[in-house]
């Protein structure tokens, strides 16, 4: 039995160099030992992505991308008629929502421990692009059930493009394929959501992982290991790192499937169980939770629509430039007292903005939203200042 197995592996190795591949990617790929379970979130993202692709495939088999048929294809055919159709739909909806939780934690880890700093700028940029692609995938996907919330979220967000000078109004009609969000919008969002965006997600995930493999993982202390140090002080990806990953994935799946079966309403808003009505806006519209903070920034400048729009776009992209905004040579937040404080204020502010995004934007809530928006940008403005202070401290030999 051993000889036969060895023979087959040898046969594959001569054709695909799998022994070398296994060494490079698995058994001789060393991860620093001083990492915590926040470093497991990358694998969780890939797990959720696979779950979304498979569940997406099965709902795709019964979904009808037509304004007259879409709502019933989801709510009657898939949810009621197809055996276990309800399960695949629940998994897909909850998966999409949970994906952003996992993404935010993964990005938060990167921000706190300085994983965006040299030599990991490309890791950060490809990762950030993946976040934007995932947001686009969620946005296009949300229109597909053609419920009231689906429809009015798409109507509101596409209207924003009208504000672009000169080309705005025509651009919006071009994006929609109609004067309002209609069947043409549905079918093109369907094509993007099912084909183009998943392809781009997979391609850029490949590039992102390649970039990570080249520079190696960061660690809690932000200290770069040499190749020799990695071998002696690190752990091999397989089987050591992956064994922890299997456990983390199992626990995550308990959490995930608990939500899928017993606590899924946060991912399927009741307003979306009413078919889209082009002539009536529901009294409350809001995006899914993961967009609420950015939505609140849009409403934050309540006294100026244009400022709000610019702030909205800025808020979605500013973090991409972190490698050039935060230039302190110290990587890990564990060794940066000032940065640590700014970071936690930013996290609290993000939660603050998220909650406000769900509330009616009037009176006190309007002003709180404005303050929250200022704090959000305040974080990025503070970073160069903190970097300067830290650099001076190093020169004086103070910070260790």
């Amino acid at each position: 039995m051993e000889k036969k197995k060895g023979g087959f592996i040898q046969w594959l190795d001569e054709r695909l160099a799998i022994n070398a591949l296994m060494k490079i990617m698995m058994t001789e790929y060393y991860i620093p030992k001083n990492i915590n379970f926040l470093w497991s979130f990358g694998v969780l993202i890939m797990l959720v992505l696979v779950i979304l692709i498979i569940s997406g495939l099965f709902v795709l088999m019964y979904y009808k991308p037509d304004a007259k048929l879409a709502f019933d294809s989801v709510n009657k055919t898939i949810m009621m008629d197809v055996e276990y159709g309800w399960l695949f739909r629940h998994i897909h909806a909850v998966g999409a929502s949970i994906m952003f939780l996992v993404l935010f934690v993964h990005m938060g880890r990167g921000i706190y421990y300085g994983s965006f700093k040299p030599p990991r700028e490309i890791v950060w940029l490809t990762g950030y692009l993946l976040f934007i692609l995932m947001a686009a995938t969620a946005f296009t996907g949300y229109l597909l059930p053609w419920g009231q919330m689906s429809y009015w979220a798409a109507q509101t967000i596409t209207t924003l493009f009208e504000k672009i000078p000169v080309i705005g109004p025509d651009l919006v009609i071009w994006i929609r394929g109609n004067f309002i969000v209609e069947d043409a919008t549905l079918t093109r969002f369907f094509a993007l959501h099912v084909v183009l965006l998943p392809l781009l997600l997979i391609v850029f995930t490949g590039i992102h992982l390649y970039a990570v493999r080249i520079v190696g993982s960061n660690n809690e202390d932000g200290i770069e290991l040499t190749k020799e140090e990695k071998k002696t002080k690190g752990i091999p990806f397989w089987p050591v790192f992956m064994s922890k990953e299997f456990f983390v994935m199992s626990v995550f799946l308990i959490f995930f499937f608990y939500l899928v079966f017993f606590q899924f309403h946060f991912a399927m808003d009741p307003i979306n169980f009413t078919p889209a009505n082009y002539l009536q806006t529901p009294p409350h519209i809001y995006p899914e939770w993961y967009f609420l903070a950015f939505y609140e920034v849009l409403r934050g400048f309540f006294f100026s629509q244009n400022l709000g729009l610019i702030a909205f776009v800025l808020s979605m992209f500013v973090a991409m430039f972190l490698p050039w905004i935060d230039t302190s040579p110290i990587k890990s937040g564990n060794y940066r007292p000032l940065y640590k404080i700014a970071f936690w204020i930013f996290v609290a502010d993000f939660v603050f903005l998220t909650v406000l995004g769900k509330l009616p934007p009037t009176g006190l809530y309007g002003w709180l939203g404005f303050i929250g928006t200022l704090i959000f940008f305040g974080f990025f403005i503070a970073l160069p200042i903190i970097s300067k202070i830290e650099k001076k401290q190093i020169e004086r030999g103070g910070n260790q």
Binding site: M61, T77, D81, E83
Partner: protein
């Protein structure tokens, strides 16, 4: 000795873990398999009722059953008799799909035969293949007789008798 023990214990756990994971994969594949089953509206089409007394002698009716055409011909006394293929003494009830390559034959009133346009196969008024490439007579669908009504899709005693004979 301790080394071997460690190795086997790790392997046992690995196999237990792998086996348990495989059960999960199996259950997921089962759920996926189930999603391809025909939907309730389709399953409802599985049986179709038809009133035979509606058909005039010499008239051919085509009844849709499970998406397929079923020829119901009420024979006149001068047409071919074939007790081993006749329903309720005077009806030919056959699935209108040519046994050669699946086209739908056309009834030719003057010749009292079915003629398949694809490769020229011919069937008599009892559905038996009489000319051309078709290898077998037209198939008889499972049926049940309830008074004047025929229920296509259910195996009644009359159907079982025809199949035996």
């Amino acid at each position: 000795m301790a080394e071997e023990e460690k190795v086997t214990r790790r392997d046992f756990l690995l196999y237990a873990m792998g086996g348990w994971a495989a059960i999960g994969v199996g259950a997921s594949l089962y759920a996926m398999y189930k999603t391809w089953e025909p939907l309730p509206e389709v399953k409802a089409q599985a049986t179709v009722k038809f009133d035979l007394s509606e058909v005039q002698p010499g008239e051919l009716r085509v009844v849709a059953w499970r998406g397929k055409p079923v020829f119901v011909l009420r024979k006149t006394p001068d047409m071919i008799k074939c007790p081993d293929r006749t329903v309720k003494d005077e009806y030919t009830v056959v699935i209108g799909i040519c046994t050669h390559l699946g086209c739908i034959p056309n009834w030719e009133e003057d010749k009292k035969i079915w003629h398949c346009p694809c490769h020229g196969g011919e069937y008599d008024a009892c559905g038996r293949n009489i000319f051309g490439p078709p290898p077998r007579p037209l198939a008889i669908p499972p049926f049940k007789i309830e008074g004047n009504t025929i229920v296509l899709g259910e195996e009644g005693p009359e159907y079982k008798k025809l199949m035996k004979g």
